[in-house]
Symmetry: C2
Subunit: 380 residues, 2 copies
Amino acid sequence: MKLTVLKEFLNESISHVSKAITSKTTIPILSGIKIDADTTGMTLTASDTDISIQSFIPMEKNDIRVIELKQSGSVVLPSKFFVEIIRKLPAQQIEIEVKDHFQTIIRSGSAEIQLMGLDPEEYPIMPGIEENRRVQIPSDLLKTMIKQTAFAVSTNEATPILTGILWTISDGKLKFTACDRHRLASRETNIDVDADFSLNNVSISGKTMNELSKILPDQNTLIDVVFADNQVLFKMSSILFYTRILDGTYPDTSKLIPQSFQTELAVGTQELADAIDRAYVLSREEKTNIVKLVMRDDQSIEVSSSSSELGKVTEELVVSRLNGELLRISFNSKYMLDALKVMDSAQVQIGFTGAMQPIIIRPDEESSLLQLILPYRTTN
Amino acid sequence: MKLTVLKEFLNESISHVSKAITSKTTIPILSGIKIDADTTGMTLTASDTDISIQSFIPMEKNDIRVIELKQSGSVVLPSKFFVEIIRKLPAQQIEIEVKDHFQTIIRSGSAEIQLMGLDPEEYPIMPGIEENRRVQIPSDLLKTMIKQTAFAVSTNEATPILTGILWTISDGKLKFTACDRHRLASRETNIDVDADFSLNNVSISGKTMNELSKILPDQNTLIDVVFADNQVLFKMSSILFYTRILDGTYPDTSKLIPQSFQTELAVGTQELADAIDRAYVLSREEKTNIVKLVMRDDQSIEVSSSSSELGKVTEELVVSRLNGELLRISFNSKYMLDALKVMDSAQVQIGFTGAMQPIIIRPDEESSLLQLILPYRTTN
């Protein structure tokens, strides 16, 4: 392999694949970035076995000559050093030449770097994925759906399936569900698929989805999502993002969500979040995060927290609507803040079916976004 | 105590004293911020015993009424919670009222916070410092001098005196010196004092000087520095910053600095720093930080580092001047980068007195700024 490539393009490509670089691998070859060059361009590949990312650099882009290819070939270079040194090279033109035994010379300006490369034949081959089970999702919608659900996945590795976001497709609707033992987040959207296209039990690590979110393009382009038996492939214009499907059976969460409410209230999203945030500051010092909501009458609620050592935070809020029985209910303020933060409306609707039953938070009654929090059992 | 104060002024004052807040105190009262209010304004005090900071809020500023005082008084409030909750209060007007047993009520908008305050009588009294040993330094000069030396203090707590910056004044010159076993940084400046004013063995923690630097005003105002037996007080317009002088005798470092050189070279500061930075990336992977400088002839030098596992980085640099014997010398590249980063000139002068003797880096031969690095003994 011998070529020159423009630094900014190489750096951009490195930043894409770097999400899949790990230093904690037991497979030495995976601590490297694989580089393939041929007459179509350069492809960089990195993998930590959970995620694999390929990024493609074309020969030219917008009439700029990006790559000058002298000889096709492949090599695997040690990630950490390669990533850092490329960023620090003095000139825009970077020459990469692979010699015998994969010894690689990188030249830029007056700097010359010799690197011990590894044999690309030892690098795992990306899985061939059949494209017959494929959907398309606008990039910004996918980002929003990840943001609205990923925070609610379980962090408990004892139940790996719950560390993922569940993808389901039925009746032309795509739904994301995330839950741990204390809360649930779900978001639904219409999607352009055949009416009989259905998807079940596909759970993808919440952490991985957050990594994907970072490299999803900001422009509203369509992302191809291809489902295989144990892998999902996200296809962007110059990036392929492979991730594995989590093992296990995702529990049925549909019965957790109450169908009717004993009490419903509507209140300003930001006002409620700010009041709970203040109470949270105190409750966090107590390491409980417990905040109490007391419904005073059909016009006002009181948000409070107290600490035996520090004191008390109290705040009265005017609600825009409150129907039903007046309740006193305690909950984890951190969970409530997480839920309120992803509401996309100035007002939120909160539904209660009793002091010990799930609390449901939605932008409005017809919303495709739903957050559920289990309350705390407290004595007063 | 009962008053209202504008949030932005209280927050600014809190941010000043917060540098002295510690959570790791064995003296419970010091985990609080002391607030004193009288007809002149409010004073906030925080102390971690090494540093004490007082910040003053006037009754009015630029024709804005900042404080409405209803009753003078004092209280100590738990720092962490107080700092966070003030920042999150909903309204610009904050009312603070201290009741019986120092129970404190904070009101802002619809939020009410009850806080268990502590008795201000238990709070340590700030030392009375006689102002007869006092100098004035422009704020920006003091910042620069701290930046040029503080990085070179020792981090080894076994020799506490070396963890400080040494202040000396003689012959109308103020000098900062910092050194550990491997490098030394010094910076001198003319100062407006009586000819017989002298200062010896005043070493102030480098960490403390960095904290001071953060609250020094950006404008070029004069800072009063008052020296007492075991304390130094920095007086800014509305802030008093007290710090203790480190115990022990600072070693005489004057003999470390060579008076003449065997070899001298002049080279572009940024060019050299960039080349060493690239070599550093590789040397850091080896955990040695060793970079080699080889003088090829009177026009060029080679900067390189190598790693048995990863490879080699080599770069040739054209120098603007090189006099004397051609040397091969190895040094800690991190130390060299630190030294080059604080040079205030496009070119640096580097002086050598042999491969195993101290390396001296200065902006020019007459400079008041000097950096010294001890080389490494290497085999090739």
